[in-house]
């Protein structure tokens, strides 16, 4: 499976941390080209590439850009979602720490396409190194005339600011992020209006994930046809970073054509650790319903995962071997969502707490078989009944674990578990 890395091509080349080193490795060529294009032509190219959002939702990126009103007198913003908090996800950290100029170049091209004079990179507060590396790269870009009043002599003005979050998963949700950027609690907004019309500071705003934005320079430089040729079909295109964790021999970030099968990815990671067997995997972070070993030959792309009842999400692939205690994993996911619910919508706030309590009871050996039906019932009352996707996200793992691994939950009835530290 020889695949020339695109997004991660500068990993292992620390010289790319400077403008000079990045240019020596072919960087900022796309920006130079893009600044000579019509902004609308950039959007068209991205649309034609089939690029879909890499943050989790998989929404077509170019289409999202076209929602920005053309005639608004208000300033427009690009907000780069670098709040990477989906459990199991660490790909954006790699992109920011190893190749900050790729992100800056992508932000500039995106902003030029939509007419934004300012980008805010909203980065989770825990990513201190990544924020510092970005700050240094941005300072270098200003010095080199790549940011500021006259980007590469084109007359286009652009500023990029790094904004640190303060520890809240919900700020990865785009309107929660905007609230947080504005100095408030990160509670998601009612939509519509969508951020493209009323976004940051009441102005039209494009919000894209780090990896999504990093695809843009490559599309502009090599063309949409090249991008579209990568991947299994027209709806799933381009290179993809898969963040693999859990029970594999070599966890890590692997760049492959979107739509490799789980088995192919597992082989690249050296297989299941300690010579054990695969029990299950979660293909897209905590929010993605669990898949079983029988699903190992499925393609890891948006549509295949959706058809299988799960989702590609952030492509954070968490792998579990045959010794894994599924009750415990399910409980830990539930506890996470309960902790991270912003509290705004009653079904999510109360429901995630009840899921956690029920699962804890089973884990403790005090559960009853009817608790499993109760879990499904509570989950069904959360799903679709909250303002943002966190409620739905909490439902997926709970329902899929108790349904697909019901026998493991039943085996726990009456059997006490070892004490937990978390």
């Amino acid at each position: 499976m020889a695949f020339e890395p695109v997004l991660s091509r500068n990993v292992g080349h620390p010289e790319a941390l400077t403008v000079r080193g990045y240019r020596d490795r072919g960087g900022y060529v796309a920006l130079e080209k893009g600044l000579k294009m019509e902004p609308a032509a950039i959007t068209e190219e991205v649309k034609a590439s089939g690029l879909r959002g890499r943050g989790g939702a998989g929404f077509p990126t170019g289409l999202k850009w076209t929602f920005i009103p053309k005639d608004s007198p208000k300033p427009k913003y690009l907000v780069c979602n670098a709040d990477e908090s989906e459990p199991g996800t660490f790909k954006d950290r790699l992109l920011m720490e190893k190749d900050p100029h790729q992100l800056i170049e992508g932000c500039l091209l995106t902003s030029f396409a939509v007419g934004a004079a300012t980008t805010y990179i909203y980065i989770r507060g825990e990513y201190v190194d990544a924020a510092n590396i970005l700050e240094r790269a941005i300072a270098d870009a200003y010095q080199s005339g790549i940011l500021g009043a006259n980007v590469m002599g084109s007359g286009f003005r652009h500023d990029i600011y790094v904004h640190r979050g303060a520890g809240a998963y919900i700020c990865g949700e785009e309107t929660g992020l905007l609230e947080s950027l504005e100095g408030k609690r990160g509670q998601p907004r009612v939509k519509p209006p969508f951020p493209a019309v009323v976004g940051a500071f009441g102005c039209p705003t494009v919000i894209n994930n780090v990896e999504t934005i990093c695809c843009v320079p490559h599309i502009i430089e090599r063309g949409s046809a090249w991008f579209k040729a990568i991947g299994p079909d027209e709806r799933n295109t381009g290179p993809k970073l898969y963040a693999v964790s859990g029970h594999v021999e070599r966890p890590g970030t692997y760049e492959l054509p979107i739509g490799v099968t789980f088995q192919e990815l597992l082989d690249v990671c050296g297989g299941i650790w300690k010579g054990r067997q695969l029990k299950a995997y979660v293909p897209g972070g905590a929010s993605a319903p669990v898949l079983s070993a029988d699903d190992r030959h499925l393609r890891l792309d948006f549509d295949t995962m959706a058809k299988a009842g799960s989702m590609l999400g952030s492509a954070a692939v968490m792998v579990m071997d045959d010794t894994t205690d599924m009750v415990r994993v399910c409980y830990r996911f539930a506890k996470f969502f309960s902790h991270e619910s912003c509290g705004q919508c009653t079904p999510c706030r109360e429901g995630t707490n009840w899921l956690t309590l029920l699962l804890h009871r089973i884990l403790d050996g005090h559960g009853e078989p009817k608790d499993l039906d109760l879990i499904v019932s509570v989950a069904n009352q959360i799903g679709g009944n909250s303002l943002c996707a966190l409620g739905d996200a909490a439902v997926g793992p709970a329902k899929s674990f108790v349904t697909k691994f019901r026998h493991e939950f039943l085996a726990r009835m009456g059997a006490a578990a070892p004490a937990l530290a978390s």
Partner: protein, 164 residues
């Protein structure tokens, strides 16, 4: 450090100077609230006393209640004293699958205090934490601003023991 701080506390001059730079980046004054709280907390030994929270509110011209609302929303702001070193152990699933509960137990034993408590010498406090985005090097912990990766209980214990 745990003494109540007097009302009327103002933010240190260097924090205020930094805020003046940051304000220019945003169209609204309130947008500097998160950065202001980060800076104020760092200047106050890693936690936000009521006096400091109210000083931030005064500096930004916001109601105290708004600022308390924000402080209580985010996991990186602390309303009680923390150790000189703040240890955050990731215990989410990717780390759990590779032994974070054992790491957590080793740290608890080494420090001899409960979660979110400060050791008698003021040296350390620890908490379990949600995913820190380092799942390929699980289990891991963050001490102050630094990641410590590929831990074993013994390695974690040794790292904590050597903190000054």
């Amino acid at each position: 450090m745990s003494e109540p701080q007097a009302a009327g506390t103002t933010l240190p001059e260097n924090v205020r100077q930094r805020l003046d730079v940051l304000r220019k980046r945003y169209p609204t004054p309130r947008a500097v609230l998160l950065p202001a709280l980060h800076l104020a907390q760092e200047a106050n030994g890693g936690w936000l006393s009521d006096a400091v929270i109210e000083a931030v509110a005064a500096e930004l011209g916001l109601p105290n209640s708004d600022v308390y609302g924000v402080v209580t929303f985010y996991d990186l702001y602390h309303q009680k004293p923390v150790g000189r070193h703040r240890i955050r152990v990731c215990t989410n699933v990717s780390c759990m699958l590779r032994g974070s509960d054992e790491v957590m137990a080793a740290i608890a034993q080494e420090l001899g205090v409960g979660e979110d408590e400060v050791t008698a010498d003021g040296r350390c406090s620890y908490v379990h934490f949600e995913c820190l985005g380092s799942c390929d090097t699980a289990p891991m912990m963050m001490i102050d601003q630094r990641y410590h990766e590929n831990l074993t209980p013994e390695k974690a214990r040794q790292i904590v023991k050597e903190l000054e």
